[in-house]
């Protein structure tokens, strides 16, 4: 938490109660949240907070690499606090939305090959696994 704040300060942005509230909400969340959900949860804390501020905060935090932006099927954008600094991905349950962290992906080699073959400078990759958790397989979350 303190590291996060110092990262914000380092980049010459201010630490405002609103930004803290957004971070708090995201750090308490187990599953990724949409901007609207973040807004609702932030309002429990700071009722006056506007939607625009939530968007601006999410944008800032994503820019600083403090949170991840996920692309899910229906509700396209969802955000998640980056808990681990290492390279990782997410396994997302399509039933209930729960997220599991996945360490490593073994794509280093394929990335290097691709780069060699195509001449692309490959910056990153977007990888998400989509499935159904144990509960949702039992038909609970059948959407």
């Amino acid at each position: 938490m303190t590291t996060i704040q110092s990262r914000i300060r380092q980049n010459k942005y201010k630490i405002t109660p609103q930004r803290q509230a957004v971070l708090k909400v995201l750090s308490a969340a187990i599953q990724p949240l949409s901007p609207a959900e973040v807004h609702k949860l932030v309002q429990a804390d700071k009722p006056a907070t506007g939607m625009a501020t939530v968007y601006r905060s999410l944008q800032l935090l994503a820019e600083l690499g403090l949170i991840c932006e996920l692309h899910t099927a229906g509700n396209c954008h969802r955000y998640l606090l980056k808990r681990i600094d290492s390279h990782h991905h997410h396994l997302i349950c399509s039933g209930c939305g729960q997220v599991v962290h996945v360490e490593g992906c073994g794509l280093k080699e394929i990335t290097e090959n691709l780069s060699r073959q195509t001449g692309f400078a490959i910056d990153t990759h977007l990888l998400e696994f989509i499935g159904r958790c144990r509960n949702c397989q039992k038909g609970i979350g059948k959407v």
Copy 2:
């Protein structure tokens, strides 16, 4: 092309000039197109075509698995004809948007491990490589 049409027919949907036009545009495209781009290109062929029809066609074709939906950074949704029936992914240039097909990804093993560890039934994964093509590395597409 004929296989595509039969796939549409199989699912009891009609083959309309508009759907054909959307398919034609996508099959002629080298890079993935946004709905708006598809619309513009379709209009060159059938000027009366409405935006709504383009959306409905894209949705239908994606549902039938005939086209891929990509999640890119800025303009979130873009569509691409599925040229190859095998499992594949895309390498996308963040400068000019050009797309390279990537065969295989070596994620079978990691998927199986994940499934075992987490109890998830993993249906699929979303994988895209993001980089800059040779031209854009030369600074041409510096956005």
